[in-house]
Symmetry: D2
């Protein structure tokens, strides 16, 4: 698997990348297992299940909203104009392989800023050099529910209230852990219906809200 890094921009369609991913899902008998294992890995990292027993995690998910952060990583020029948007290729919470934002839970005792840095490092590697904005307020709030009718933002696992940020990164980004790939797109590409078709859970809409926030919605 080639992991593209800027300035090389990945214009491969997700369908092309499916060849690779479907190869790793060759035997249908194993597909579910593979997918679930990946999902398990994701949960383990995302919620540090060593700190939260499966029973407690299930009880929490059924009773209170979780706090998340969503991050749109971007490249900016010397005047702060967004030139590129980074999207991960990951196994989403619904099991599909999707283009995704950097996303994850805020842990007990953790500051929002620390969660932003931790999830950016988790997904983009330790050399991404994120520039977390000094202003702590998110550009929008994405409310994820299992029911897709409520807000358009969907997470089949739980109700999550997610603080959404646009974060410039100036360093070397190498997708780590469960991300299959990281690709960079122009703002126009990122706002296109082609990319939207590769995203899930309403994250394509969240991406467009973020592009509008930085004045880059076509």
């Amino acid at each position: 698997m080639n992991r593209l890094r800027p300035p090389a921009r990945n214009s491969l369609a997700l369908s092309e990348l499916f060849n690779i991913s479907s190869a790793s899902q060759a035997n249908s008998a194993h597909t579910v297992t593979e997918s679930e294992k990946l999902k398990g890995v994701s949960d383990q990292i995302d919620t540090r299940t060593e700190w939260l027993s499966p029973d407690l995690l299930a009880a929490v998910r059924a009773n209170v909203p979780l706090v998340y952060v969503d991050v749109i990583p971007v490249r900016v020029d010397s005047h702060g104009r967004v030139t590129e948007v980074g999207l991960l290729l990951k196994v989403a919470s619904d099991g599909s392989i999707s283009r995704m934002l950097v996303s994850g839970r805020i842990l007990y005792g953790e500051r929002v800023r620390d969660a932003l840095v931790r999830h950016l490092e988790k997904d983009l590697g330790p050399l991404a050099l994120p520039h977390i904005p000094p202003n702590p307020s998110p550009f929008t709030i994405a409310e994820y529910f299992p029911d897709p009718e409520i807000s358009g933002f969907v997470d089949p696992r739980h109700h999550a209230v997610s603080l959404a940020y646009v974060v410039p990164v100036s360093g070397d980004c190498t997708p780590t852990q469960e991300a299959l790939n990281l690709a960079w797109f122009t703002p126009a590409e990122a706002a296109s219906s082609k990319i939207a078709a590769d995203m899930t859970g309403g994250q394509d809409r969240l991406l467009r809200l973020g592009l509008a926030h930085v004045g880059k919605l076509p």
Copy 2:
């Protein structure tokens, strides 16, 4: 207890009001009970403990951050200028009687907007006519921790990530339930050290951040 409503502005010092409240706490043997009962009422309403068993609530509080909203209710003139700031007189989570913002938990399955309306109705009554802003992003994020050293925002019960809003109200405000009083202050009064001394948990600072957001910090 006189519950003041605008346009009459309450300039009583909290110390004067203490006469009333200390009267209701006359017997020290009962004081704790009274205070705890009030606090229990607060929790019951705030977290709908009928939906969350005490054990589960304790487990949740010890393991994940809760999602809260904080609201600064304001009066505005016809041009949107903040003329008055409403502060509740309540038993705070630390047991003290304090000037407080409208504040409370977002419930499982509840939209942020619905939580804002519910908590405003809970504290200001059903006729307050809040004007929830169309923009869903809070003016800041207040991160409450039991440890006062972490962020300056303190809640002895749990870690809460609170979305903070300034919400104009144009109707008739009558404090309900556990609020002892609602008083209106000019922005300059609200930003004063006198009012700050009557607030707890860092809410005086949150109030000043909100006043700055609307351009009304002296």
Copy 3:
């Protein structure tokens, strides 16, 4: 000319309305005159030319950026959700008949809030009851230039730096002065390519940026 008011929503295509407007422009010999007269009226109101001689206005326009406000008037429900977006039908600065936002200059000595109220009254009438947000910062800055290549926001007359706001109106809106019509659209309609085709100078993009700001971009 029927001037539609909410809750009646106007779903007429601009092309249908053109019948009316072309009727009023029946004789091509007079069309230019009519249009220019309207445009003259617009300038007169917009820049109070009684205060600014034509020579000075021309000198200003050629040498310094002007300060403008753009307003997206919206209807909101009791929870602050945008339900409808109001668009004017006006003769635009390029002479075309277009769907337009409420827009105009900030005058010498005028506060931004006063300019917002003045332009809303000018275009929506004195009973519109706008709720100017307490927070003075615009959701975005639209930079208009005669050259369409610079920012995508175009004003053939001058360089203008425009502060853009979303303003809920709760009263009775009746288009006044040079507006031919005021129509209300759902957020989805307002973000559609059909409406975009009826707008000019990049205001369709500004409208979508505003819809994103209130979480209502599809």
Copy 4:
């Protein structure tokens, strides 16, 4: 004159620096001339008077508001927390020697981002490495008037509508041109009444609004 650069933080009182400045204003007969010369230099740079004749500049100033930017330059840590605030020591528009923000006019044909970079370079030097935020909306709007009663923001020369930003700088800052000094302060120092006493035109209040925006108001 020693021009301090971070990480060395300048805690000198302005009064101590006055020794230097009053030295350069030794002969009262020349003081006005010196001051006016400095002010003339300031105008020349600020408004590029080679492009705007004195007559036209006077006419513009008397008839339309000018568009300005105000910038609070800050140092941030790896998590985006503001650690230091940079303040210039300059001859203000009222002739006093004051702590000042980076501030200046947007020129005809100039993008807001370009004006931000230009004024930051003008005041902090070409190696300051400013990180202009991708979001174009200012944290507040400061409306300057000759009359101090109108908004609290004062410019004796004209009415200016100023877009205010907090901009992290990560490079080497060396005050250039008319700035006498650049000093860095902790957020708490920057919000103190001691620093406020050294500022003019309401910029101390604008500074506190900016500190609140980044959550750093005490």
